[in-house]
Homo-oligomer: 234 residues x 2
DNA sequence: ATGATGTTTTTGGTATACCAAAAATCGTTG
DNA sequence: CAACGATTTTTGGTATACCAAAAACATCAT
């Protein structure tokens, strides 16, 4: 994923910090300070910020410091709807476009998830799961579709991560994945749509629940800071 | 559409030039020269180029001048597939989310097209048509969906324009639009899907035909250039 | 004390200068 | 004459300097 260009590196760095919660929502990203902190100039930092803005992770305000985006529940829900639609479309197209190699790779990924489910670290597991879904999009052999799907997957990283760590359910995930796989193997567009609806249909509400829990936790923490509440951050 | 920021203005300018064919595919966009030409500095020009790159209108190459993208027929076709899917999704959601005001606006746009079809300039007409389809996406009240849809609409501007100017068919367009409208008024997701399939289903092949014709024309011209080609590229 | 207003400071927007990598050109040599 | 290589030139990448708008702050008048 890491491009070799400096702004991409910076963007990757910031993205990680944002998605992992190190930079909580509403944190200002001052291009001067952040650039200095990373030992780079404002120009590439600026470009990196634009990349993240395009991804929806930070919001730009005219003549004001960009801030880490705080997506509302509705916004995330809306994005999940689009992600689901894109993935369903991908899977349908994949029914007549996927190569055997694609299906084998999907099998492999699905198997990896099943094997690693109990042993692996949640983060690693999550990466494999993302790879599985990304691969479905790629199996349609439609570059635009895969691109847009990947973009949504990335944008929803944090929300999906929250949801996934909250309710891990091995049986559900594994059986859903295998249902998707058999439908793809059968190249049956209807079955694949059903399977995906099943698997991702609850994703929206899971994510909503996870976000609300997270918001509540964050709010509680904000209201009871340890000791003195100094104004002014940094 | 015009944002008030300088890079956006530059991007708009370049986008027009590219989409209208003033900057044909494979033209290099040298940030120094182009910036000087517009009387701005390299920094905003650079940013503008990145915007267009994100939209797929120009391709960036490491340590090389960006060039105007020359999308292959397959690439455009793939994009049309996604656009169609997004618009169908929008319309389906709009069936239970659209307000009366949304529907009225759609009516108005659809009417404008019918009225202006024979009198208006093809470009104006096309703008209205784009507004109609964009409004469908907006009627779903899903910001992410509308955004992505708009991005595809913009990206396919040139291809759709080629296709539209090539085969103008008043009856077809008008009746299709009214079919879409009635389906939306009835808030009937199935009917709206049928109507959109009808309207946009042939779009893919229309565009393919138009692009092939355009490519042939361009190729013929390139093989018989009129006289001197000055200090150009390639 | 409070609100308005002027000043200072912060910060993003833009221009420009400098650098390094990659082409293209030209000269040299086998 | 061709092919290889050094040099020059082109061009994007990066750093920095300057500017303007907006927010924060302080001061003054009511």
């Amino acid at each position: 994923m890491s491009d070799s260009t400096l702004p991409e590196h910076i963007a990757d760095q910031l993205r990680r910090d944002i998605l992992r919660g190190k930079l909580p929502p509403d944190t200002t990203i001052k291009e001067r300070d952040n650039a200095a902190e990373l030992g780079v100039s404002r120009t590439p930092m600026r470009e990196a910020i634009r990349i993240l803005a395009k991804e929806g992770l930070v919001v730009l305000r005219p003549s004001r410091s960009p801030v880490v985006a705080q997506p509302t529940v509705k916004e995330v829900h809306d994005q999940v709807v689009v992600l689901l639609a894109l993935e369903k479309l991908s899977a349908q197209i994949a029914c007549h476009e996927a190569t055997e190699a694609d299906l084998d790779e999907l099998d492999s990924l699905s198997q990896q998830i099943a094997e690693a489910y109990d042993t692996a670290d949640a983060l690693d597991l999550f990466e494999i799961d993302m790879a599985f879904h990304r691969k479905i999009a790629e199996a349609a052999h439609n570059a635009a579709l895969a691109d847009t799907h990947r973009s949504y997957l990335a944008r929803l990283w944090r929300a999906r991560f929250l949801s996934a760590t909250m309710r891990r359910n091995r049986e559900r995930v594994v059986s859903h994945h295998s249902a998707i796989m058999t439908a793809l193997r059968d190249r049956d567009p209807v079955a694949v749509e059903v399977a995906l609806d099943q698997h991702l249909g609850n994703l929206a509400e899971d994510i909503v629940a996870a976000m609300e829990a997270d918001n509540a936790a964050r709010k509680a923490e904000a209201e009871a800071p340890e000791g003195t509440k100094q104004k002014g951050q940094t």
